[in-house]
Symmetry: C2
Subunit: 387 residues, 2 copies
């Protein structure tokens, strides 16, 4: 707790709801105060709050301080982005982000790929020396909203063990697709190529529940289910996530491992960027260093193939046929990709914003106080404690 011009900053022991717009405005001002140009700060805040709106709490507000604010303060992340186009053709480009803000770099690259697709049918942009860019789905959805289909992805800090291996090597490496449809929301598959990820392990740890077998593998090649121990051992590199499909080959783990490798290659080899252990974020002396990620953005203009309205109707019919099929007796319903995120957004909008957990309340107070953004007073500082 820190004294500010506005009085004592407090936070609640329970999640408190906060309006999207207020939180977005605050994050914009955080990055401006850190030296990011206004319009770039607006991009970062928009990407982060979009994650919360879509119900993906792991990639939104909660990351503002540890992944961006703290790294800028530590000097391992540039708040001002130097966006350099290294090579360009009418359909392709290679971009160097020079360790600037990943959201800013990625949004500009995605729009480049979309513009190239609009002009020439297809566009593909690859990026090196970028940084963590939030949800991959944001950039794929940009394309879907502009009448295009998209495949995007990024590498990330080493997390996944290869099939028959135990080292955390590959990032959780999302392979993300979005397509426009005739429904209220686009199809959007935005997921890691691992079975699970750190954010979910944290949830199990909070609930004191054992992890499902097969999520995490230790150095002896065995599955670990102690969530608390896994959180410690992941940092120390003593355990790793399994690829989608799980341990070994019997349940198809080599497929998830293969897709994680595809993403690692597309994120580094066309752009001659770093990969695998070189993305661990520590140098040989164990000190923090920049995590220079690579991304890829492939976009196709639907109109190069068929009228957009036809594609949207065809895709919508396909998705509705899936949803209308026979469900498991114990299941409520069948969803298609992007639907749960759409439902989450509608629900939160009705209810007045995003639920902010105590740890994030505290982090936001700290940023506000350290940056002297005393015009902000968060709902958890004024809300009555719920019974």
């Amino acid at each position: 707790m820190v004294l500010t011009g506005n009085g004592v900053s407090t936070f609640q022991q329970v999640p408190v709801r906060a309006p999207f717009e207020y939180m977005e405005q605050f994050m914009r001002d955080v990055f401006v105060a850190l030296g990011t140009p206004t319009e770039e700060a607006a991009v970062i805040a928009d990407v982060l709050i979009t994650s919360d709106k879509r119900g993906i709490e792991t990639h939104g507000l909660g990351r503002c301080k540890p992944i961006y604010y703290d790294r800028i303060k530590a000097g391992t992340l540039n708040p001002r982005t130097n966006f350099e186009i290294v090579r360009e053709t009418p359909t392709t480009a290679v971009v160097d982000g020079h360790n600037g803000m990943g959201h800013v770099i990625a949004k500009r690259c995605a729009q480049m790929a979309i513009d190239k697709a609009k002009a020439n049918g297809l566009g593909m942009v690859v990026t090196r020396n970028s940084t963590h860019y939030g949800i991959a789905g944001y950039y794929a959805l940009m394309a879907a909203q502009q009448g295009c289909i998209a495949m995007v992805g990024t590498n990330a800090r080493p997390s996944i063990a290869p099939t028959f291996g135990v080292d955390n090597l590959l990032g959780t490496n999302p392979l993300t697709f979005a397509f426009p449809t005739d429904e209220e929301f686009p199809f959007c598959l935005d997921c890691a190529t691992s079975v699970s990820q750190r954010g979910k392990v944290e949830q199990y740890a909070r609930l004191g529940k054992p992890l499902p077998p097969g999520w995490v593998v230790n150095q002896r090649g065995e599955t670990c289910t102690d969530a608390q121990a896994v959180l410690r051992d992941l940092i120390a590199g003593r355990c790793a996530f399994t690829p989608l499909g799980g341990l070994g080959e019997e349940t198809g783990g080599y497929k998830g491992y293969g897709y994680a490798t595809v993403v690692e290659i597309l994120s580094s080899c066309l752009q001659q960027g770093n990969f695998l252990k070189a993305l661990s974020g520590v140098n040989e002396e164990g000190k923090e260093r920049p995590i220079e990620l690579g991304h890829f953005f492939f976009v196709a203009n639907v109109e190069a193939f068929c009228p957009l309205a036809d594609f949207k109707r065809h895709t919508g019919r396909l998705l509705r046929e899936i949803r209308a099929s026979t469900r498991c007796p114990d299941a409520e319903r069948i969803y298609t990709a992007g639907e749960k995120e759409h439902i989450a957004q509608e629900k939160q909008t009705r209810e007045g914003g995003v639920m902010v957990i105590p740890a994030v309340q505290k982090a936001f107070n700290t940023m506000r106080d350290e940056l002297h953004l005393s015009q902000y007073r968060f709902p958890w500082e004024t809300a009555p404690v719920p019974k």
Copy 2:
């Protein structure tokens, strides 16, 4: 057993090895005898034998009779291909295969996408009214061998249930990638987006072993492990394969379901083709009808991004770093995608060809006898029965 001009056609109770070239030549002559033009028959035979060479027995010789020969005889598959380009731009094309031979259609589409990529950086061709085209990897490898990266795929007969659903709806829908490297063989991930597939269930049935839990789901939403019962129920639509990641959401099944849906959309919606249950191969009266599949071929020319040699070296280094990482104590080694297929090809070439199981020996005798290709005499007709 049928009498032919050459005498009695016999087959062995055990697998017998046969030279690749002889089997390929025979299949070429089979399709020529069925009415396929010589150069197109050569393509079909090459795709099929390539599958066997790579150790993928499920998609090679064994399919020659049931999937192609029998369907041509039944009139549901055209031995002569009418390849129609419906729409074309310098980077894109939509092709109608008019229910011709899938291998011929797909190879020509893949080469179109490669040529477009070579000329303009990127190329993407989508296909409708095609038919079963063998291994998807064949077409991705064409691109890798020509200095390109590729993502290809196809829909297929309904097999996979969506997460929380029980109907077989989505095809086993491969999402396949290939990249050139500086090693002897390209990276090639060629796999279905289901946990498993029919060919593997057949292997378990032959061995009398129960299936691993989570491969197959029945109409009650439960996993089935009786391999014999599953083979019956799959045909009757009373059970379905689970998506990669398995049943429900806990082990990421919604991700595999998502990727299967991506492939279904890319295989039908840009080209306004059939999807899901419309690909079941039977009409409303329960009679066999053409299975009109869709494919997609996306290719990028590496040289549009960086020198090909740099890409190959970078990718090779990445793959070698994975292989050199710590292995599970009980594992022999770590493989990268395409490596096992390369090893299988080298081994079989050393050993003199492909092992042909009794059921396939019998099928080949039948085709030979029915088509009066009496110049062929297979190794299983002359080989001594091994002890």
